[in-house]
C-alpha cells in the first residue's frame, strides 16, 4: 500500500514554475530521498506535500485519501509530520515541554481546559518513550534553545514522532552539522526506519547520508523529476551524474 501518492503536481508562482509535473509514490515503510541541485524545487515540493500551499495542479493522496485541498494542520492530524531545514522548535521551553505539546495534540487534548492525573501520566509516558527513541531522555529538562544543533534536531524529530505519524517528512535533517552530529542523526533516522518501520521522505544534500539510508532516490532538477530508482540505479544513471552527482563518491 502506498502511504503517499503524488500525481502530476505542478506549482506556479506567477510566471515561475517551481515544480513541474512531478509524480512520486511512497510505499509503506519505505525511505525515499529527494536530491537535486539548489533551486531544483525540493523544498517547494516538500511544502506542497505538507500543505504549506496548494498545488497549481495535480493531486496528492495520503493513506488513500485525497488531501490536495487540506490545510497544514489537517494534514498533520491525518498523520503527516515534518521537520524543517532551519529547526523549528520552541526555544524557551524544555525538551519535555516541547514534546509534550505534540503529544497533547496527538492525544486530542489541545482544546482541553483541564487534564486529569491519569491522562497527564499517559501523556508523560508517551513523551518519555519518544525521548528515549531519540536518545534525549537525559536532557528532558534542558531548554531546547540551549542545546547543541544535533540535539535540537533530535528534539524536533521527537516532536514529529510524538504526533504518531504515518509519514515523516525530514527537510535536510543534517543541514549545518559536522561529521559527529551527522552521524548521530543518520543513526537515528536509520533506527526509525529499520526498527520502528516509519515511512520517511527526506531531502538531503549529503550523498553519504542519502546512499546509506535510502530505499529509493528521486532526483529533481529545475522543478522536474529527472530520475527515480534504487541507489545503485541512480548512481549508475548518466544523466544524473552529469547534472548533479558529478565527482561525488
Amino acid at each position: 500500500m502506498n502511504v503517499l501518492e503524488i500525481d502530476n503536481v505542478t506549482k506556479r508562482f506567477g510566471n515561475l514554475v517551481a515544480v513541474r509535473d512531478v509524480s512520486l509514490n511512497v510505499a509503506q515503510g519505505e525511505l525515499c530521498a529527494i536530491i537535486g541541485p539548489n533551486g531544483a524545487g525540493k523544498t517547494t515540493f516538500f511544502n506542497l506535500i505538507s500543505g504549506f500551499f496548494p498545488p497549481t495542479s495535480g493531486t496528492i493522496t495520503f493513506d488513500g485519501r485525497d488531501i490536495t485541498k487540506l490545510a497544514t494542520h489537517e494534514r498533520v492530524a491525518r498523520g503527516m509530520a515534518r521537520t524543517f531545514q532551519i529547526t523549528e522548535i520552541f526555544p524557551e521551553l524544555t525538551v519535555f515541554e516541547n514534546v509534550r505539546i505534540a503529544a497533547e495534540v496527538a492525544g486530542g487534548y489541545r482544546l482541553r481546559p483541564w487534564i486529569n492525573r491519569a491522562e497527564a501520566a499517559k501523556v508523560a509516558q508517551h513523551v518519555e518513550a519518544t525521548l528515549n527513541l531519540v536518545a534525549l531522555e537525559t536532557k528532558n529538562d534542558r531548554l531546547v534553545g540551549e542545546l547543541a544543533h544535533g540535539d535540537q534536531r533530535a528534539a524536533e524529530i521527537a516532536m514529529a514522532l510524538a504526533l504518531k505519524p504515518h509519514l515523516l517528512l525530514l527537510d535536510e535533517p543534517t543541514a549545518g552539522m559536522g561529521d559527529q552530529e551527522t552521524f548521530q542523526i543518520t543513526q537515528l533516522i536509520r533506527r526509525l526506519h529499520r526498527d520502528s518501520k516509519y515511512s520517511i521522505v527526506l531531502i538531503e544534500h549529503d550523498m553519504r547520508v542519502v546512499f546509506h539510508l535510502a530505499d529509493r532516490i528521486c532526483v529533481l532538477d529545475q522543478g522536474r523529476m529527472l530520475a527515480q530508482g534504487t541507489p545503485q540505479e541512480i548512481a549508475a544513471n548518466e544523466t544524473v551524474q552529469a547534472a548533479y552527482l558529478g565527482n561525488a563518491a
Binding site: 505538507s50 490545510a71 497544514t72 494542520h73 498533520v76 492530524a77 509530520a81 515534518r82 524543517f84 523549528e88 522548535i89 520552541f90 526555544p91 524557551e92 521551553l93 515541554e97 509534550r100 505539546i101 505534540a102 497533547e104 495534540v105 496527538a106 487534548y109 489541545r110 482544546l111 482541553r112 481546559p113 483541564w114 487534564i115 529538562d141 531548554l143 516532536m159 504526533l163
Partner: protein, 317 residues
C-alpha cells in the same frame, strides 16, 4: 527540582497576604482603600490583556474597548434593568466577551502590525459609539445615575456602596475568581497551545494546531475577562467613561503589562500598581504629567522592555 514548587507556593501566598491585608497597610503609607480597589481592577484588566499579549503573543492594541463595554454593560444594567450588582458584573462580562467573540472572527487571519492596526480601529468604533449615542450612554459626560447595590448574601446584606473596605473585599473576591480561572486555563493543554503559538507559530501549525481557531478562542476569553474587569471598574466610581474605550486607555494597559513583565502571570498587576501610583502622583505635582507619562513609555521601551518581573524569569506556564 522540589525547591521550585515550594518557592512558587511561597510567592503565591505572599501575594495573597499582601492583597488581603491591603486596606490595613495602605493607610499608614499614605494610601487609601479605594486606590487599592482601583489598582486591583486595572491590574485585572492588564492581566486579561496579557493573557493574549504575553501568553499568546498577539498584539491587540484596542483591548480597552472590551473593558469599556464591560463598564457600560454593568452601568446600563444597574440603571435600567435591575438593581443587582452580580447581574451587572455578569452583564458587563458578557457584553465585552460577546463583542470580542464576534470581532475576533474578523481579526484572526491577520498578524503583527496589520492586526494591531485593525484592533485599534475597532476599538475606536466602540469609543465613537459610546460618544455619539448619548441618549443611551450619556455621551461625552459618561454614564451616571447608577450605583453599586448591597450584596444580598442570604444571612447578611453587605453594604458595598458606602463601606470602602467591604467593596474592596468584594472586588478582591471577583479578582480571585477571574485570576483563578485564568491561571487554570494557562496551565491546561489549551493554555500550552497558546504558549506554543507565541513561541513558534509555524511549528505550532505543523504540530496540528489550528492556529487561527486557537487565537480566536484566546482572544474571546481575554475579552470576557476584560469585560469582567470593566464592569468592576464601573462600580468603583459608579461611572462609565467613554475615555475608557479610547486607544490611549489600551496603550495604558499594554504599558502596565510591559512594565510589570509580559512573560509573568502577576507582572501586569505589579505594572498596574506602579503605573496608577505614578500617574496619580505625577498629575498631582505637575500640569504636564502627560509628557512624563509619554516619557515613561519611551524609557520603559528602550531600557526596560522585559519589565520588573522579567528579570527573574525564563518563561514557564
Amino acid at each position: 527540582m522540589t525547591a521550585e514548587p515550594i518557592r512558587k507556593l511561597i510567592v503565591l501566598a505572599a501575594i495573597w497576604i499582601v492583597l488581603l491585608l491591603a486596606p490595613f497597610w495602605m493607610v499608614p503609607l499614605g494610601g487609601y482603600t479605594a486606590l487599592a480597589t482601583r489598582v486591583l481592577v486595572l491590574g485585572l484588566a492588564a492581566m486579561s490583556l496579557n493573557f493574549l499579549l504575553g501568553f499568546t503573543g498577539v498584539l491587540s492594541f484596542g483591548h480597552a474597548a472590551y473593558f469599556g463595554l464591560g463598564a457600560y454593560g454593568a452601568g446600563l444594567t444597574l440603571k435600567y434593568l435591575a438593581l443587582s450588582t452580580p447581574l451587572a458584573v455578569v452583564a458587563g462580562m458578557l457584553l465585552g466577551g460577546l463583542c470580542g467573540a464576534i470581532l475576533g472572527m474578523l481579526l484572526v487571519r491577520r498578524r503583527g502590525v496589520y492586526f494591531a492596526m485593525v484592533t485599534i480601529a475597532f476599538g475606536q468604533v466602540f469609543y465613537y459609539i459610546a460618544f455619539q449615542w448619548s441618549s443611551l450612554t450619556g455621551g461625552d459626560d459618561g454614564l451616571r445615575g447608577f450605583s453599586r447595590q448591597p450584596l444580598d448574601l442570604g444571612l447578611i446584606k453587605l453594604d458595598i456602596l458606602t463601606d470602602a473596605n467591604n467593596f474592596y473585599y468584594f472586588v478582591l473576591f471577583c479578582f480571585a475568581l477571574a485570576v483563578g480561572v485564568m491561571g487554570f486555563i494557562l496551565r491546561s493543554p489549551f493554555g500550552r497551545t497558546m504558549i506554543a503559538i507565541r513561541e513558534n507559530e509555524r511549528r505550532s501549525r505543523f504540530l496540528g494546531i489550528p492556529v487561527e481557531r486557537h487565537i480566536w478562542i484566546a482572544f474571546t476569553l481575554s475579552c470576557f475577562f476584560m469585560g469582567f474587569a470593566g464592569a468592576l471598574y464601573a462600580l468603583v466610581n459608579n461611572f462609565a467613561d467613554p475615555r475608557g474605550l479610547h486607544y490611549s486607555q489600551s496603550g495604558d494597559f499594554v504599558m502596565m503589562a510591559v512594565m510589570g513583565g509580559m512573560r509573568s502571570f502577576w507582572g501586569p498587576l505589579l505594572g498596574a500598581a506602579v503605573f496608577v501610583v505614578l500617574q496619580d502622583y505625577l498629575s498631582s505635582i505637575t500640569v504636564n504629567w502627560m509628557s512624563f507619562v509619554g516619557l515613561l513609555f519611551i524609557l520603559v521601551v528602550l531600557f526596560f522592555p522585559r519589565g520588573l518581573l522579567g528579570f527573574f524569569q525564563r518563561s514557564k506556564a
